[in-house]
């Protein structure tokens, strides 16, 4: 693998395992860069990165912005809310305006699935998907992968559980794809209303029983539960959800001693994960955030045509 020969990063589906490992290797280099004192490198000097977030987000937007700044890019943030989309300018027109201002990279988060794919067909600039609807969140999946590789060296043979609202989760969809591509065993777990049978098409295991699953897992990836799902009768109450699917201290006691606890954030402490577990030494939730910046630096670097660093330390995982 010498480079990422592509204009956009839209989803995990279109990435090969080699490309995924290339991104992770490159991220390792950038993590070294930005954990030192002088954090900037001139990779994107003179380039403009525009973050266009049609959905509220703190960590993902900041992470992209920081990554771009550390690569010396000019960054602009266009704050938009879904309501202005409905009333005002179309997505295409908004982005053409940004292109007219010579934005080189558009990082977009959008509530509508496939919005970045639609955009990439209709504009020349580079589109990076920062999460679209329930569909995909490729940089989250890549940072999750990098974080596991950092701890275990590889995903091969690991058993990774993804727990929660699978149906409405772009993180789950992208995670399961990347984990499968790198040889992990993946089990999805959640209530039947949030875990449709159609997920079997991915060749993953599925269970409703969290307690039975836990002792077998190397990695427990907890998803955020949206409280509003309860109003759609997808589960009867937060209390019952908590009872069945919260990663409590009692449940944690059943896990392997070296289990890795992950969460894409933001967490509902006390609902899907107990305080003590979120802050437990086995939890890498904060490191995921740090790694997110490194992975996004790697993505920018490689999309800009950057080639792998010949660093002896960067062994392929």
């Amino acid at each position: 693998m010498n480079a990422l020969n592509r204009k956009d990063l839209l989803d995990i589906k279109s990435l090969s395992p080699e490309e995924i490992l290339l991104i992770c290797d490159t991220a390792k280099y950038f993590k070294d860069v930005f954990t030192r004192d002088v954090k900037t490198v001139p990779v994107l000097r003179g380039k403009t990165v525009c973050t266009l977030f049609y959905e509220p987000s703190t960590r993902t937007r900041l992470s992209f912005e920081l990554a771009a700044k550390m690569l010396s890019a000019n960054t602009i943030n266009v704050p938009v809310t879904t309501s202005s989309v409905v009333k005002g300018e179309s997505l295409i027109d908004t982005v053409r305006t940004l292109e007219a201002m010579k934005a080189d990279y558009i990082v977009m988060r959008h509530a509508a699935s496939l919005a970045p794919h639609f955009l990439s067909k209709n504009i020349d600039g580079s589109v990076i998907n920062g999460g679209d609807g329930y569909h995909a969140h490729p940089t989250q999946a890549l940072l999750d992968t990098y974080s596991i590789i950092e701890k275990r060296g590889t995903l091969k043979g690991l058993h990774i559980g993804i727990i929660g609202d699978i149906k409405h989760s772009r993180v789950a969809r992208s995670d399961l794809l990347v984990f499968k591509k790198l040889g992990a065993k993946v089990t999805l777990c959640g209530p039947s209303t949030l875990l449709p049978d159609e997920f079997e098409q991915y060749g993953v295991d599925m269970t409703y029983d969290f307690d039975e699953l836990l002792p077998d897992l190397d990695v427990v990836n907890m998803l955020r539960i949206q409280r509003e799902r309860q109003q759609g009768s997808l589960f009867p109450s937060i209390r019952e959800y908590n009872l069945l699917y919260c990663l409590t201290e009692e449940r944690f006691a059943k896990c392997r001693s070296d289990v890795i606890i992950m969460h894409p954030g933001p967490m509902n402490r006390g609902i899907e994960i107990d305080d003590a577990i979120a802050d437990h030494p086995n939890s890498i939730i904060n490191e995921q955030v740090t790694n997110g910046v490194a992975v996004r630096m790697a993505v920018f670097y490689l999309l800009a045509g950057g080639t792998p660093f010949k660093d002896e330390e960067n062994q392929e995982a």
Partner: protein
């Protein structure tokens, strides 16, 4: 002036005719159908060698958007597209702005249509305002020229309202055209619920949202002896339920649209909003079920659900883009390519779905080619290919998933009420 159509293969599904016969049209009527008719010098003679000579085609489900969205399509513009596509009679849907729930609006459509090349038969709303609550003044609407009742685009969710509509419309012999969709079950979905919707993270519409309403309306037709016709049937299960209703001698008919026997939801990822319609494209087994329903006669009619939308409306995220595609211009080519050529339908079998069958359901004396009948004729060359592109499409809106396709079946002539309204250039 008389028109003499010579050397063609005459297909009249109503009488089961498939023969080399010539046709003479005069004074808006068919004067004669016979072998080797000699035209005189003043006659316009059309040489139809190698072509099918069909009754003027009938599309019982089109949206011409007038009144309200004349920027998208008009009755006159839509009629010209229909003529170019071989259709001499269409039934317009009443979900305009305002909706067609009073006689004045029915008359308006007929008046506008009189300026155009083809016969336009309006349908009117089942309920006042299309709100699904009180039934409209059906007697007066019929007197104004409405041929059927439908709240197309919005199902009549209340079962008692649907019951009353079926009971009341019975006395006029007019069908209720049911847009079968349980809105609560459809739950704001935007594509078929299944493997693809899960993969793409798009909200699904289960086929059951259609099927439960079809089952309900068939039972209500049984209760009321009313005349129920289902619009745009899209699933294998719907076909099975309707088949059973027909076996039980319930007065039920239905239509499907060409896209349901040509495409599946595998297309959504690539075509996005161009593959967004309601009901949605389903799976391969549904597509096959639709073809079998057409073959065994469970599905009586092919109607396009021609639904123009402006480029701006469709150039959006799939979630925000409106449902619907244009269909008139690709209808005959898809019937010939998909049903006749790929699935061995006879011409009589295939073209009954766009001639005598819809005419019969709407009580129209159209869709047949017989001596003394209306001089509506469509001449189609089934071997000539067309390519669906900007140049081919006359429709102001180009929202079709078939762009780029080459299909068999070109419209050579369309003759309506004895006048040539379209001739291939």
């Amino acid at each position: 002036m008389r028109i003499v159509i010579k050397n063609g293969r005459l297909i009249d599904p109503a009488s089961g005719t498939d023969d080399r016969l010539d046709v003479v049209l005069s004074g808006g009527r068919v004067e004669a159908i016979d072998r080797n008719i000699k035209g005189s010098a003043e006659d316009e003679v059309i040489d139809a060698e190698g072509s099918l000579v069909l009754p003027g085609l009938v599309d019982m489900h089109v949206h011409f958007r007038e009144p309200g969205r004349e920027d998208v399509e008009t009755i006159l513009g839509g009629s010209m597209v229909a003529a170019k596509s071989g259709f001499t009679s269409v039934c317009t849907m009443p979900n305009t702005t305002p909706v067609i729930d009073n006689q004045a609006l029915v008359r308006f459509i007929i008046m506008e249509a009189a300026k155009g090349p083809i016969n336009v038969f309006p349908s009117a709303n089942i309920t006042k305002g299309g709100k699904g609550e009180e039934i409209s003044e059906m007697g007066e609407l019929i007197k104004g020229g409405a041929v059927a009742f439908t709240d197309d685009g919005r199902p009549v969710m209340s079962s008692i309202t649907m019951r009353r509509a079926l009971e009341y419309s019975r006395m006029f012999g007019a069908p209720i055209l049911s847009h079968a969709e349980d809105k609560s079950l459809a739950d704001d979905g935007l594509m078929n619920e299944g493997l693809n919707s899960i993969r793409l993270g798009l909200k699904g519409i289960p086929r059951e949202a259609e099927e439960v309403m079809i089952a309900r309306d068939i039972l209500l037709a049984r209760l009321t002896k009313g005349k129920i016709h289902f619009c745009h049937v899209s699933s294998e299960g719907s076909v099975e339920i309707i088949r059973r209703g027909k076996n039980d001698k319930i007065n039920v008919t239905c239509e499907t649209a060409p896209h349901y026997f040509s495409l599946t939801d595998d297309e959504v990822e690539e075509l996005m909003s161009m593959a967004k319609m309601n009901p949605p494209l389903r799976t391969e087994s549904d597509r096959k079920g639709i073809i079998e329903g057409l073959r065994d006669g469970t599905i009586d009619v092919i109607a396009t659900d021609h639904a123009p939308h402006s480029p701006n409306e469709k150039m959006q995220e799939i979630e925000y883009a409106p449902f619907g595609i244009i269909g008139l211009e690709t209808s005959v080519p898809l019937i010939i390519t998909e049903l006749v050529r790929k699935n061995n339908f006879s011409y009589i079998q295939a073209f009954a779905k766009v001639t005598c069958n819809p005419a019969g359901i709407l009580n129209l004396d159209r869709g047949v080619l017989k001596s003394g009948g209306h001089a509506d004729v469509t001449i189609v060359n089934p071997e000539r290919k067309i390519k669906v592109d900007e140049q081919f499409l006359l429709s102001k809106c180009k929202n079709t998933p078939f762009t780029g396709r080459e299909l068999y079946g070109s419209i050579e002539y369309t003759i309506c009420n004895g006048k040539i309204v379209y001739r291939r250039g």
